[in-house]
């Protein structure tokens, strides 16, 4: 279970040999027309694990998983290695990949309307996944589909079977997507902002459901969200991305109690508090850099209050600062971050 995440030199992380590794990603990069948007991702995912991915828009959260599943357009240039149970997935024939996708690894997409076929009834779309990946047939398909619809809290499940996507609200389509992803009984479920269109009570219901399924079946869950609250409550481990890299990775408790990277500290400080006194919100100065204009050194340097001269020249590697906690910052966790942490904690209180 050790060394679950790392982009540090491979020697420090014998990723492939770590026991129980279900999915291993090494040195994953993606270029779009010569511009690098994903700049080397390494991670390992174990059975039954829940990993949260956070970061501002454009940081590479979706591209990481689209590349992993071979779902990027042909214009994308992908390199590195993605192994599922020790078998390479990058560059394998589309027909084989098709069996893995939806079966062993399923993804709930950020935009549900683009993933559902508008001219096919939703019951049939879910049924197809059941037939292809679970060998369910005949009348069982309908019964199993209804069970899945009930599971995700789709109102009026029996009648929804014959509905078209446009007849459902955005939130309802999102739940159909979740049912479809669960239909293949995947080993890994990647959920990209699965609850953004839902209100808090239904969001809580869905996240609770995903956690129950994970615990009962040993499915690994990857939850992508820009809401730190959502991942904090659902995931055991969190990976913070910025500028196409991982800048911090740690167990959930540890990242909220003791954030080490200035970017993570900034994200947490920008959140409106839900307890205690109100204060003026503290945004992170500046903007996420465009992939084509990535600063040469630390990608966060132009916005970082703790920046030093060396930050503009050297790309800080992801290094372990305490057990299971990795941060990619030259200033390091030890001295300066501790101080800013005090400020930060008083802000959160």
């Amino acid at each position: 279970m050790a060394d679950l995440v790392g982009t540090a030199p491979a020697s420090a992380f014998p990723a492939t040999s770590s026991s129980g590794a279900l999915l291993t990603i090494e040195g994953l990069t993606v270029d779009f027309s010569g511009v690098r948007v994903l700049r080397g991702i390494d991670l390992t995912l174990s059975r039954g694990e829940s990993l949260g991915i956070v970061g501002e828009s454009g940081s590479g959260k979706s591209v990481t998983w689209l590349a992993t599943l071979g779902l990027l357009p042909r214009t994308a240039n992908v390199s590195g290695s993605v192994q599922l149970d020790g078998q390479e997935m990058l560059g394998v024939a589309a027909s084989r990949l098709d069996r893995i996708r939806g079966g062993r690894v399923a993804m709930i997409f950020q935009d549900p309307s683009s993933a559902l076929n508008p001219v096919i009834r939703i019951g049939k779309q879910v049924g197809e996944v059941l037939a292809r990946h679970q060998g369910v047939s005949g009348a069982n398909i309908r019964a199993e589909t209804k069970r899945l619809f009930d599971l995700v809290g789709l109102p009026d499940a029996a009648r929804r079977f014959d509905a078209y996507p446009h007849e459902l609200s955005g939130g309802q389509n999102q739940r159909v997507m979740i049912a479809m992803a669960l239909a293949g009984k995947p080993d890994v479920l990647v959920a990209d902002e699965p609850t953004t269109a839902l209100d808090a009570t239904i969001q809580a219901q869905i996240l609770d459901l995903l956690t129950t399924i994970r615990r009962e079946t040993g499915m690994a869950l990857v939850l992508i969200s820009h809401d730190l609250g959502v991942v904090s409550e659902t995931c055991e481990r969190i990976m913070v991305m910025y500028g196409g890299r991982v800048v911090e990775a740690a167990p959930s408790d540890s990242i909220f109690a003791n954030p080490q990277h200035p970017y993570t500290q900034g994200l947490l400080a920008a959140l409106p508090p839900f307890d205690g006194a109100l204060h003026r919100l503290i945004p992170i100065e500046g903007q996420v850099p465009e992939p084509a204009n990535m600063p040469p050194g630390c990608p966060f340097a132009p916005r970082c209050a703790q920046r030093m001269t060396v930050c503009k020249e050297t790309i800080p590697p992801l290094t372990q600062t305490e057990a299971g906690h990795f941060s990619a910052c030259i200033a390091g966790a030890v001295t300066e971050a501790r101080q800013s942490l005090k400020v930060h904690k008083s802000v959160l209180a």
Binding site: E56, A163, A200, T201, G229, L271, R280, L281
Partner: protein
């Protein structure tokens, strides 16, 4: 007592929708007997279940949509019929901001042109005065002159939302209806826009009707909250009271479900059962199929509002029953 800038009196709005391909038409009660009021310079937040009628209520408040019954008062007067010139004049004092700034901005026009456009349309001041006014407004929302000639797609999400704000504010409206203004933004940009809204409110004495499902943001910006469920208000009162001590079982579940970063302090209430189907509204209290403390009468009798000692209104039989003991305790 200050005069309310906005009052909704018993407004209802029904849509008819077809169920299935050949199904019969079914009425959907999107908004059902909703009454609200907003004081000048204050923020009222509208929260609640998806599909509970928040956006519809916001549109009705601005006269963009007519209620089937009930009426809207703006500064004590009824709204003139939509799209008349009297309505247009009044509308300059009332503006709306939507979730998606790109949908509002014209992608071929520079930011400056778009912010100046309302002044052009209403023919206010000379051309150079209009330009200066628009530049000053851009400056007020934190977009410097460098951005004036930019096209919308050249700006970040937060900058676009700032441009939309500048455009909405250029006619110096008294009332701003914000429909999920920050939900699509990253936390950092969200913080910028929330700060900006609060600054502008202070400087311009803006009144805000703030529609959002993010209770953390609502806590930050509002003095009062109205909680909606299936077209009706179920709880209405001061923000800090509702969030620290919610009374209606739905408000309780909603507040407990707010995802917080770090350790959670409240017990989370996970609702069971189906989310509501607005075309098939449950009898009695619409929340009864999911209510953790449902009572026999809830299935058949619709609860009416009662006022608690702290001034808030709640529509729930369980709260009614608990009322007398509460008052004794005080």
């Amino acid at each position: 007592m200050t005069e309310n800038i906005l009052e909704l009196h018993g407004i209802s709005r029904t849509y008819s929708t077809r169920q299935g391909l050949f199904g019969r038409k079914v009425p959907v009660h999107a908004v059902d007997e909703v009454s609200l009021s907003l004081q000048p310079g204050q923020t009222l937040a509208l929260v609640g279940e998806s599909g509970s009628g928040k956006s519809t209520t916001g549109r009705i408040a601005l006269g963009l949509e007519l209620p089937n019954s009930g009426h809207v008062l703006f500064r004590g007067a009824e709204l003139p019929p939509a799209h008349t010139s009297a309505w247009r004049r009044m509308r300059t004092h009332m503006q709306m901001i939507y979730q998606d700034p790109l949908a509002v901005l014209d992608r071929r026009l520079s930011i400056l042109d778009q912010v100046r456009e309302p002044l052009d349309i209403h023919d206010i001041g000379s051309a150079s005065e209009r330009n200066n006014k628009a530049l000053a407004m851009l400056d007020a929302v934190g977009l410097n002159a460098n951005y004036a000639s930019s096209l919308p797609h050249q700006l970040s999400g937060g900058q676009r939302q700032r441009a939309v704000l500048a455009r909405a504010l250029i006619m110096q409206p008294a009332l701003l209806v914000c429909d999920e203004p920050v939900s699509a933004l990253d936390v950092s940009i969200q913080a910028q826009v929330v700060n900006l809204l609060m600054d502008l409110q202070k400087d311009l004495r803006l009144s805000l009707l703030f529609i959002s499902h993010d209770l953390k943001v609502v806590r930050q910006v509002s003095q009062r909250i109205a909680v909606m469920y299936l077209g009706r208000i179920v709880e209405y009162g001061e923000t800090n009271l509702l969030l620290s001590n919610p009374t209606h079982p739905y408000t309780k579940a909603l507040v407990s479900a707010v995802p917080v970063a770090g350790r959670r302090t409240r017990e989370r209430i996970i609702l069971k059962g189906e989310p509501p189907n607005p075309a098939d509204r449950p009898t009695g209290c619409a929340f009864h199929p999911r209510c953790p403390v449902v009572r026999p009468e809830c299935v058949s009798v619709s609860p009416t509002f009662s006022t608690l000692p702290d001034g808030r209104s709640v529509a729930c039989h369980a709260v009614d029953a608990a009322q007398p003991t509460k008052e004794v305790g005080i």
